[in-house]
């Protein structure tokens, strides 16, 4: 069977409007052959989980720079589980201190990228860590 193209939801939770990173990542993933859905700004965890399930994506990439990651990331993970998306890989990026990143990984965020991460690193990580969902 031919490889199914991976579908990735790039999402911006929270109220901040810093979408420079999210857009660059979305475009880099798309240019690397993934199907990318970008939510646009100001999404609630509900909107993100809903979109992920509806769009039948394999992974969700969350971008946040408002400092609210410890509230919003766990909520996205919880809602995905609740809606049958527990096998959707969640990863994220933004201004996220190391201690917070460790805690987020414990509750099910698979990877956290911080300032300085290159789009190549992120594309490579997605290739290696995201499989098409059954």
């Amino acid at each position: 069977m031919a490889d199914k193209r991976l579908r990735i939801l790039v999402a911006k939770p929270g109220l901040d409007g810093h979408d420079r990173g999210a857009k660059i990542i979305a475009r880099a993933l798309r240019d690397s052959g993934f199907e990318v859905v970008y939510t646009g700004l100001h999404q609630t965890p509900e909107m993100i989980a809903e979109a992920a399930v509806q769009e039948d994506v394999d992974a969700v990439g969350l971008s946040i720079l408002s400092g609210a990651h410890m509230t919003l990331f766990p909520e996205v993970v919880r809602l995905l589980r609740e809606r049958g998306g527990e096998d959707i890989v969640v990863f994220g990026g933004g201004i996220i201190p190391d201690d917070d990143a460790k805690k987020l990984k414990q509750i099910g965020v698979k990877e956290i990228f911080t300032p300085g991460a290159s789009t190549e690193d992120i594309v490579k990580w997605v290739r290696e860590n995201v499989q098409p969902r059954a």
Binding site: L15, H42, M70
Partner: protein, 544 residues
């Protein structure tokens, strides 16, 4: 005539060049040498003396020999009393103007207890929900003596009303308060992306505020036309300049359409620039901006008052230029950027703190940032003479190039039907996203260098202490909001909100009704809800 061509072909050609792309941060290619041939304009026409048209060399006759720039550090976090304490600290350290950072819910027009505020209260700025918070925020600060800048946009009308009511309660008449509210909605749609309603009603609210301030608070700057966020979103320096001046044109047109005379409001317009790492590019941008604005105001809008032609500017060093890696290096970046701002002739300046890619700054980091400005002012000697790098062939040639290229963009925006139309079609947004992507690529390919990120990388980072925001703040602020709602006269609030809604519909200036709602303790969220229901809600088109 200098014989630059001969020199290029002979002496210069004999040398071996470094394998580098000689271009600015924005990737504008730079020539090996600038000579008199590269500068086209005459001294009188293109430069003029300081304080004289077209203000290329500075807007004031005495510039920093008369008065140094205002050192204005942006601050805000937690509850109003936390930020109030930081304000008192900064004033005690020799800072001379205040600048307020609000938290995301306040900036987006939500109360602390709104579900969308979850996890964001007091986190990247101070939470202000009702007039009591504003009173606490400026407690013990003489509002008629200190000038205040408030960085807020889509909910700016409410925050300005709160500031006015706070002054009123302290017995200070509106004519005596001075300061600036950012209130630049056009750049929100273009870059910073904090909005409530669609572009057209947003512009109407801004215009109401310009009109209101011209009549009732004449020392207040009702809009700070901002390139800062455009640049942070990834634009080039030319795009920052062009889109910002085009935004300014749009506000002037809106105020003229309202029936104001150009010289009635234009002297109170101000600008806000980003200062990135590329020294010559930044100085040229600031000088070109002054010349362009002067010419546009005089020639396009027929301004007569010289103050209408003067581009007053605040600047902030570029947040996006700071690195999380080797954060102490940021002190150096900020110092060089600040020097470019000063040599570019700004009226006030914020220097970023070294730790701002990691968190809000600590008191120690803020102090170093403020001291950086004080060292430039007191020790380097650059404030002794006016526009000391004016007349440099490179600076003047680049200034002309910035003006030419930015006017090209402005022509395209005019052709599209003006900035509102351009925004609706996504033109500036796409241009910026494209530049951001190109820059990221160049960084990853090593065409552009950032020390500590793609050059001179060290495996281990020195951890620096960062400011932590207590999560209990959110609950405390939520309780405060609920208490206000319980104790105020809810019929009076409802009535006042009804009047705001009526003004939305009738076209009456919104500011007086908003002030009245604020006096009756209506909250930021409640007043912005009126905008939401009357004007509709804008959704991000999500262009990649």
């Amino acid at each position: 005539m200098s014989d630059k061509r001969r020199w290029l072909e002979t002496t210069y050609a004999q040398g071996v060049l470094r394998p580098a792309r000689f271009s600015t941060v924005s990737d504008m290619e730079i020539e090996p040498l600038y000579s008199p041939d590269d500068v086209k304009g005459s001294y009188d026409d293109a430069l003029g003396e300081p304080g004289e048209y077209p203000y290329t060399r500075g807007i004031y006759g005495s510039m920093y020999r008369g008065r140094l720039w205002t050192m204005r550090q942006f601050a805000g976090f937690g509850l109003a009393e936390d930020t109030n304490a930081r304000f008192h600290f900064l004033l005690s350290q020799g800072q001379d103007g205040l600048s307020t950072a609000f938290d995301m819910p306040t900036l987006m027009g939500y109360d602390a207890d709104h579900e969308r505020a979850l996890g964001e209260v007091g986190r990247e700025g101070v939470s202000v929900t009702a007039i009591d918070d504003m009173m606490r925020l400026f407690d013990g600060i003489a509002l008629d003596r200190v000038t205040t800048s408030m960085t807020v946009n889509c909910s700016a009308s409410v925050l300005l009303a709160m500031y006015l009511v706070a002054a009123e309660r302290n017995g200070i008449p509106w004519e005596r308060i001075g300061g600036t509210i950012q209130n630049d909605m056009l750049k929100e749609f273009i870059a910073q992306k904090e909005w409530i309603c669609p572009p057209r009603p947003s512009l109407r609210i801004v215009t109401d505020m310009i009109e209101f301030c011209a009549r009732k608070a004449p020392r207040w700057h009702p809009v700070s036309i901002s390139g800062y966020h455009i640049r942070e979103a990834g634009s080039t320096a030319v795009q920052e300049l062009a889109f910002t001046i085009a935004d300014g044109i749009c506000y002037v047109e809106a105020a003229l359409e309202r029936g104001l005379g150009v010289d009635e409001f234009a002297p109170r317009l101000s600008f806000f620039w980003n200062i990135h790492n590329d020294f010559l590019e930044e100085v040229a941008k600031l000088r070109a901006a002054r010349r362009m604005w002067a010419r546009i105001m005089k020639e396009r809008f027929g301004a007569k008052d010289p103050r209408s032609m003067m581009l007053r500017a605040h600047a902030q060093t570029a947040g996006a230029s700071l690195t999380a890696q080797q954060p102490l290096n940021n002190v150096v970046r900020v110092a060089i950027q600040a020097l470019a701002g000063v040599l570019g002739g700004v009226q006030s300046l914020h220097t970023n703190s070294m730790d701002e890619t990691l968190a809000l700054p600590t008191e120690q980091a803020v102090t170093v940032a403020l001291r950086t400005q004080q060292i430039i002012a007191e020790e380097t000697g650059v404030a002794n003479t006016i526009d000391p790098i004016g007349g440099s062939y490179a600076v003047e040639a680049l200034t002309e190039r910035f003006e030419r290229e930015a006017m090209g963009y402005i022509g395209r925006i005019d052709d599209l039907g003006g900035m509102i139309r351009a925004i609706e079609t996504g033109y500036p947004q796409r241009e910026i996203a494209e530049s951001a992507f190109v820059y990221q690529r160049q960084l990853e390919q090593g065409i552009k260098s950032v020390v500590g990120v793609n050059k001179y990388v060290v495996p281990e980072e020195i951890p620096i202490a960062t400011l932590k925001i207590d999560p209990a703040i959110e609950e405390k602020q939520i309780q405060r909001v609920r208490k206000i709602r319980r104790e105020r006269n809810s019929t009076a609030v409802k009535e006042a909100l009804g009047r705001v809604a009526e003004a939305c519909r009738s076209g009456e200036n919104l500011m007086e009704p908003i002030c009245e709602a604020v006096r009756r303790q209506a909250t930021v969220g409640e007043i912005c809800d009126v905008f939401r229901s009357e004007f509709g809600v804008y959704k991000d088109p999500g262009w990649i």
